[in-house]
Symmetry: C2
Subunit: 180 residues, 2 copies
C-alpha cells in the first residue's frame, strides 16, 4: 500500500498493490490490520456504491456531529475528480480544499476523516464506492453549494449534472458565519 499525505492534516491518498495474472487481477481494497498499522484504526460500518454518468456532480455533502462520517472513497470503474473541503472549525486549513483524480485503473483511494465536506464529478461513466465510519442519517445531512465562489474549487467542468437537492445547498459563509 502506497501512502501519500496531503497538505491537509489527516487527509491521505492510498494506493494498493494490484496483482495481475492471465485471469485478470486481484487486490485488497481494505485490510483492517494494515490500515491500523498505517495509523487508520477506524471501524467502518457502512459501504455505499453509486453509479454516475459522465458529467454528474454529487456534493458537497457531510453529516453533522455526532453523526459525522469518515469516508474511504474510491472508484471501481471510470474516473472522477474527488473534492474534499476541510470544515473542522479548529483546523489550520479550515475552508481549504484538496482535489484528487480517482482512477479505477490505479485503484487509488482517499481517506477523508470526519469533519470534511465531500463531493465528486464523474469524468467518465463511473462506479463510485465508499466505506463510512458512521451510518447514514438523513436528519444529520448537511451540504455546501458546489460552485460557491468563496471555496474557489476548480471542478474542471462547465455544466455538470447536479441534483435539485444539491443546487440549493447553502454557501460556506452562510453555514459557518458564526465560526469565521
Amino acid at each position: 500500500m502506497q501512502v501519500r499525505p496531503t497538505a491537509i492534516d489527516g487527509l491521505i491518498e492510498l494506493t494498493p498493490r494490484i496483482f495481475h495474472d492471465e485471469r485478470g487481477h486481484f487486490f485488497e481494497s481494505y485490510n483492517k490490520p494494515l490500515f491500523t498499522s498505517l495509523g487508520l484504526p477506524m471501524d467502518f460500518v457502512q459501504d455505499n456504491q453509486s453509479f454516475s454518468t459522465k458529467g454528474v456532480l454529487r456534493g458537497l455533502h457531510f453529516q453533522s456531529e455526532p453523526f459525522a462520517q469518515g469516508k474511504l472513497v474510491r472508484v471501481i470503474t471510470g474516473k472522477v475528480l474527488d473534492v474534499v473541503v476541510d470544515i473542522r472549525p479548529d483546523s489550520a486549513t479550515f475552508g481549504q480544499h484538496e482535489t484528487f483524480v480517482l482512477d479505477a485503473a490505479l485503484a487509488n483511494m482517499v481517506w477523508v476523516p470526519e469533519g470534511f465536506a465531500h463531493g465528486f464529478v464523474a469524468l467518465e461513466d463511473s462506479i463510485f464506492s465508499y466505506k463510512c465510519t458512521n451510518v447514514y442519517n438523513k436528519q444529520a445531512e448537511g451540504g455546501i453549494l458546489w460552485n460557491d465562489p468563496d471555496l474557489g474549487i476548480d471542478w474542471g467542468v462547465t455544466n455538470p449534472n447536479v441534483s435539485e437537492k444539491d443546487l440549493i445547498l447553502p454557501t460556506f459563509k452562510s453555514l459557518f458565519a458564526k465560526v469565521s
Copy 2:
C-alpha cells in the same frame, strides 16, 4: 434488503434496494446495524476485489481453522456463477453445494459463513468483490478441485480458464477421508 435463505443452514442470499434517479443510481452494499438485525452480526476485516475475463474460474478455496473466513460476495460489473460447498464436518448438508448467479444489475450478494469452500466462474468479464471476517493467511489456504466428480457441480461451462495452482487442488474425498 431482500433476504432469501437456502437449503443449507446459514447460507443466505441478500438483495439490496437500489435507488435510481437521473444521475445514475445509489445503494448501500453493507450496513452493519441492518446486517446485525438480520442475524448477521459479524465483523469484516478485509475487502477484496478481483477482475476476471469471461470463462475464468477461481476456486474452490477456503482457509483452515483457526483462520476460516466468512465471506460476503457479490459482483460489481458482469455476472458470475457463484458456487459454495459445505465443508463443515458436523453439518447435515456436509459435501453439498449451492450455486447462485450473481448479477451486477441486481447487486445480489451471498453470505457464505465460515466452513465453506467457495469459487466462481465468470459468465462475462466481471469485477468480483467480497468482504471477509478474517484476513488472508497464505499458510492456511486450502482448496478442492473445481471439477471433482464427487461434488457433482454443474458449472455450465466446458473449458474454463483455471490457474495452475487451482488445477492441482485435491479432491473432496482425499481431503476429508478422515471425516467421511
